[in-house]
Symmetry: C2
Subunit: 307 residues, 2 copies
């Protein structure tokens, strides 16, 4: 029987003893460790794998390098960190042209420069097994309390920072990591939970709801849907389940949102209220334009590990 990522994490978390420096451990978008002088350090690593996250020949390697770093900047932002530095561990097969290796770093370094992130090191290896990239990122909290997954409360609004769905076309390579929004959310002190949408709204909301022990209702008509190259918006199904949106989903009181939505880092984005947090007993539901309620279907990407 296959072991899912969630099952492995449930097995792992209680076994991974956490030292007193650890402010936020396994189970959030990124970890937080406290430095000797009390600085909040955000840490996250994310893999970008051939045949999982990209296919050779479908896009230039500069997009692969860009995406590998952008995924980590998104996660650091989802706990309220400003990304500062990154390590790149790369393994490539011997038949990969040198130009592709350099294009990968060109794309990575361009995004790093845009976000004032320094590539400070890593590890390079030749592997017979395809291209694998793992980026580890460091961010600074600069006095902000980290955003968590487990604090959503009934009555909170659920807000996303941009349109969802249809990411497979191009967006999954070219998205802008929303860490500036995450920094603004953390700085407000009013946000109860936050997650970055990598596995699809339905699945990621389920993570927040489970961690926070709450239910939630999504208003289907309120879902902002990304338009594809042909101008047609994603379907509601795609907006719920496609994944690789890399927008932030967060929960906060309605009054706090009224104040916070005008903050420059949020006003610059197409933020949308997509639903509300409810009591745990209400479960996860959707409501359509005609007022019909239904259980939120499962879906999205489930990582499975081990046979």
């Amino acid at each position: 029987m296959p072991l899912t990522e969630r099952e492995l994490l449930a097995w792992l978390a209680p076994r991974a003893a956490q030292g007193r420096e650890v402010a936020l451990g396994i189970g959030h978008d990124a970890a937080v460790v406290t430095s000797p002088s009390g600085d909040g350090l955000v840490l996250k690593s994310d893999q970008t794998l051939e045949e999982v996250h990209f296919r050779r020949g479908e896009q230039g390697f500069e997009w692969v390098g860009r995406k590998a770093l952008a995924r980590v900047l998104s996660d650091i932002g989802a706990v309220g960190g400003r990304p500062v530095a990154a390590l790149c561990s790369l393994s490539v097969p011997s038949d990969l042209p040198e130009a592709d290796v350099k294009a990968l770093f060109d794309g990575l370094l361009r995004l790093a420069a845009e976000h004032s992130v320094s590539l400070v090191g890593g590890d390079l290896a030749r592997s017979p097994r395809g291209v694998t990239i793992d980026i580890a990122g460091l961010g600074f909290l600069e006095g902000r309390a980290p955003l968590r997954r487990d604090g959503a409360r009934p009555g909170d609004l659920l807000v996303v920072t941009g349109p969802l769905g249809g990411s497979r076309a191009r967006h999954h390579l070219a998205f802008e990591p929303r860490w500036r929004a995450g920094v603004a959310l953390a700085a407000s002190g009013a946000v109860h939970a936050c997650i970055d949408l990598s596995d699809g709204l339905a699945r990621d909301l389920r993570q927040v709801a489970a961690a926070s022990r709450v239910g939630a209702r999504i208003e289907l008509e309120a879902l902002p849907r990304r338009r594809g190259g042909d101008g047609a918006p994603a379907t509601i199904e795609q907006a719920l389940h496609d994944g690789e949106d890399y927008e932030l989903l967060f929960a906060l009181p309605e009054a706090a949102w009224s104040e916070l939505r005008g903050a420059p880092a949020l006003a610059a984005l197409a933020c949308a209220v997509v639903g509300r947090v409810e009591a745990e007993g209400a479960g996860l539901t959707t409501i359509d334009g005609a007022g019909r309620s239904a259980p939120l279907a499962s879906g999205g990407y489930e990582h499975t590990l081990g046979a």
Copy 2:
């Protein structure tokens, strides 16, 4: 023509703009970033790859997990850091038994507990391409100036923290990372250069010599050689070139070594003076028991990247 790791780093280093937080960037065993309050943060990632660093079936997966973390603790120590936290990015093929995944984490977590290191997060994925592990580690300098590769000076002694060679049998899985020695070396303020021996003494010494713009002479009779399971010591060739020793090699003035060798973290190890730093023009040479000098042969493991 294949691109070596060194060639890629030479291409990459000037392109990777470093922010003002970066105290030590690409080109050392680990990077150092300064936190907002001035704490020295040591960062390093290292990959452990199937068919490169281990073969399935040749050892239990607990040894693979142990090695993956130990490699990073060794690197953090080589710049004088105390390791504190780690992220684990793991991808496994779907045919890997669940018991192997858990054994891997058991071995990793056991070593983490022995060294008071917290596993705080990472990334888990299924990959069609074999088992790949990338560990990113965080260490604290706690006021020490980092050990570098580029400060060795003519006249310095060259010292290693333990026996070399013959690592393939067992040592490459079971070695003890020497970060406590690295912390003592950094705390002394007297060590001019340090590197951890992963690619073989000859090759790693060449890195220090090139970065420091010096030459060096190795006394072959002085090389401490690891004994195998049969009690026979490694050959001199093995001690020079085998790699995966994970001892520290460092350069410091003779007077400083007289004082420092009694420090508990160093006195506990089988440290040995193996040669001296010389002027750049002298190149890299060996001298045998009969006083015969010869150029230090190349050898050891050269990572090659890209076609």
